[in-house]
C-alpha cells in the first residue's frame, strides 16, 4: 500500500466514524424521553460529586483483582499441569482436576460468593476470617482458577507433541519438558485469552458488593439510592473501563514484543 492510499484510507475511516456517531447522537438526543434520561444518568454535577467517593471504593476492586489474579495465575497453572499428567498413576488427580473445573465453571459466580461469604463466617470457627472481602477474593479465585486452567490447558495442547518428543528424546523428564519446552510456548500463545478472563475477573469483583463490601458498584448503589440519580453508576462504569483499556494495550504490546523478538536475529 502506498503512502497516498494509506492517507486516503485514514480519511475515509475518520469521515465515516464522524457521520456514524453524529447520526447516533442526534437519534438519541431527539428521543422523547431524552431530557429525563439525561437528568438521571448524565448529570455532570452529580458525576463530579460522586466520583471521589466511588473512586475510593474502586480501590477495593483493584485490590481484590490484584490479589485474586496472583493466586489464579499460579493455581490455574498447577491445575492445568495436573490435568496434563500422563499415565494411570495420576488418574485420580486428573479426575479431581476435571471435577473441580466442571463444578466451578458450572456454578454461577454470585452463588459461590453468597455461599462462601455468608456460609463460611457463619460457621464461627476459630481462625476463620469474617471479612467479606476475604471470602469474596476466595470465591473469585476458586471460580476463575477453573476458567483460567482451561485456557492454560488449551495452550499446552496447542504445542505440537513433537516438541515434547524432542525434549524427552534428549533425556528431559516429563516435568522438565513441560517447564522448559511446552509451557513457555503454551503461555505465550494464551496471553490474549488470559487477558479476556482477567477483564471478566475485574468486572466480577463488583459481585463482592453483594456481601456488603463497599466496592465501586456498592458505593454507587448507595449513592444512587440517596440522590435518586443513576449517574454514580456511570462513574463506576468509567472507572472499570479505565482499568481495562491499559491492560488490553499492555497485552497487545507483550504479544507484539514477543513476535518481534523471535523474528529479530540475535536480539534477546
Amino acid at each position: 500500500m502506498s503512502g497516498g492510499e494509506g492517507r486516503r484510507g485514514v480519511a475515509i475511516a475518520l469521515a465515516s466514524t464522524v457521520v456514524f456517531f453524529t447520526v447516533l447522537a442526534i437519534a438519541i438526543t431527539h428521543a422523547p424521553g431524552w431530557p429525563e434520561v439525561r437528568r438521571t444518568f448524565f448529570d455532570w454535577g452529580q458525576f463530579k460529586d460522586s466520583m471521589p467517593e466511588i473512586a475510593d471504593a474502586f480501590l477495593l476492586n483493584v485490590k481484590m483483582f490484584c490479589i485474586a489474579e496472583g493466586f489464579i495465575l499460579v493455581f490455574a497453572l498447577v491445575l492445568a499441569v495436573i490435568r496434563s499428567l500422563p499415565g494411570p498413576v495420576f488418574f485420580p488427580m486428573r479426575v479431581l482436576g476435571i471435577a473441580y473445573a466442571d463444578f466451578f465453571r458450572g456454578v454461577p459466580t454470585i452463588l459461590v460468593i453468597a455461599l462462601l461469604g455468608f456460609g463460611a463466617p457463619a460457621l464461627q470457627l476459630e481462625g476463620v476470617p469474617l471479612s467479606t472481602t476475604f471470602w469474596g477474593i476466595v470465591s473469585l479465585v476458586l471460580v476463575y482458577t477453573a476458567y483460567v486452567s482451561e485456557v492454560y490447558r488449551a495452550g499446552i495442547e496447542s504445542v505440537h507433541p513433537s516438541q515434547d518428543a524432542a525434549a524427552r528424546s534428549l533425556g528431559l523428564t516429563h516435568l522438565q519438558s513441560l517447564r522448559k519446552v511446552v509451557l513457555p510456548q503454551a503461555v505465550r500463545r494464551v496471553i490474549p485469552p488470559l487477558l479476556n478472563d482477567f477483564i471478566g475477573l475485574q468486572k466480577d469483583t463488583a459481585l463482592v458488593g453483594f456481601l456488603g463490601a463497599i466496592e465501586a458498584f456498592k458505593a454507587s448503589q448507595i449513592d444512587a439510592a440517596a440522590t435518586f440519580n443513576y449517574t454514580p453508576f456511570l462513574c463506576a462504569a468509567v472507572l472499570f473501563v479505565a482499568l481495562t483499556i491499559p491492560l488490553a494495550r499492555f497485552t497487545d504490546w507483550l504479544v507484539a514484543r514477543d513476535r518481534r523478538r523471535r523474528q529479530a536475529a540475535g536480539v534477546r
Binding site: Q163, A165, A167, R168, S169, G171, T173, Q176, A265, R268
Partner: protein
C-alpha cells in the same frame, strides 16, 4: 566388534494396525546401518521404539549390553545415550540456537553453564553454524535448522544416533549440507541407525542396508548387494520404483 544395538523380535501395533511384526537387527559399534523401504514400512516407528518414544508390545532392545526394554529401567537415563534427529527438526522455537543446544546438557547432565555453552559453541563451529549461535530457529534455513538439530543431539555425547529421514523435509539444494554432516559423523566413528530415502547416500555411507517391508526386515546386507543385486522380488520392485523416480 561388540554390538552397540541389538533388537530382537520387536513388535509394535497402533490399535489394530501392526506396524512392526518381529524386527531382528544388530548394529555393531562404529557401524552405520541404513533402513530403506516405502513410507509406512515401519522405519520411523522402529527408530522411535529404539529411543523408547513409543512403548513396544513385544521383544527386546539392548543398547551397549543393557536391556533398555526391561521393566523398571529409567527411560530418561537411556535416552541420554541415544540421540535422535527428526524429519521435521523439532527445534525449540522459543529458544536461541545456543539455548537449544545447551538445554539438555545443563538440565540433564548438569553441566556447568559456561562449559555447556563452550561445548555447544565448538560443536556449532564444527558444523559451520558459529554465526547462527544467537539466532532463533525461524530465522534459519531448513538445512541450517537440521544441522542445529544434529548438533543438539550430539551435545549429549550419545553412544548411538538415530536419524529419521532427516533430509525428507528439505529443498533439494539443502540436502547436501546435511548429508555432509552425517558423513563427517560416520567418518568420526559414530554408530548410526539411519532411515532414509537417499539411496546413493545409503550406498556411500552404510555398512549395512536393511530393506523394511510391512513391518519386517525383508532383506539385509552390504549396500552394494542390497542396492545393486537384491534377491527379494519386493526389494527389486521398490528399487525399480526409486530408479524410475530418478533417485538412484
Amino acid at each position: 566388534m561388540s554390538e552397540a544395538l541389538v533388537v530382537e523380535g520387536l513388535h509394535k501395533s497402533f490399535g489394530d494396525l501392526e506396524v512392526l511384526r518381529g524386527i531382528d537387527l544388530a548394529v555393531a559399534e562404529h557401524e552405520v546401518v541404513c533402513l530403506i523401504g516405502a513410507s509406512g514400512s515401519g522405519k520411523s516407528t522402529l527408530l522411535r521404539c529404539v529411543n523408547l518414544l513409543e512403548p513396544i508390545d513385544a521383544g527386546r532392545i539392548v543398547v551397549e549390553g543393557d536391556e533398555i526394554t526391561s521393566r523398571g529401567v529409567d527411560v530418561n537415563r537411556i535416552r541420554r545415550r541415544i540421540g535422535i534427529v527428526f524429519q521435521a527438526y523439532n527445534l525449540f522455537p522459543h529458544m536461541s540456537v545456543l539455548d537449544n543446544v545447551t538445554l539438555a546438557p545443563t538440565l540433564v547432565l548438569r553441566k556447568p553453564r559456561g562449559e555447556a555453552r563452550q561445548d555447544a559453541t565448538e560443536l556449532l563451529a564444527r558444523f559451520g553454524l558459529a554465526d547462527k549461535r544467537d539466532d532463533y530457529p525461524d530465522r534459519l534455513s531448513g538445512g541450517q535448522q537440521q544441522r542445529v538439530a544434529i548438533v543438539r543431539a550430539l551435545a549429549m555425547r550419545p553412544d548411538l544416533m538415530l536419524l529419521d529421514e532427516v533430509t525428507s523435509a528439505l529443498d533439494p539444494e539443502l540436502i547436501a549440507e546435511v548429508l555432509n554432516v552425517i558423513r563427517e559423523l560416520a567418518a568420526g566413528g559414530m554408530t548410526m541407525l539411519i532411515a532414509t530415502h537417499e539411496m546413493s547416500f545409503a550406498r556411500d555411507i552404510a555398512d549395512q542396508v536393511c530393506f523394511l517391508d510391512g513391518g519386517l526386515i525383508l532383506e539385509q546386507g552390504p549396500p552394494e548387494e542390497i542396492l545393486s543385486a537384491p534377491k527379494e522380488p519386493r526389494t527389486q520392485q521398490f528399487l525399480q520404483r526409486i530408479i524410475e523416480a530418478g533417485r538412484l
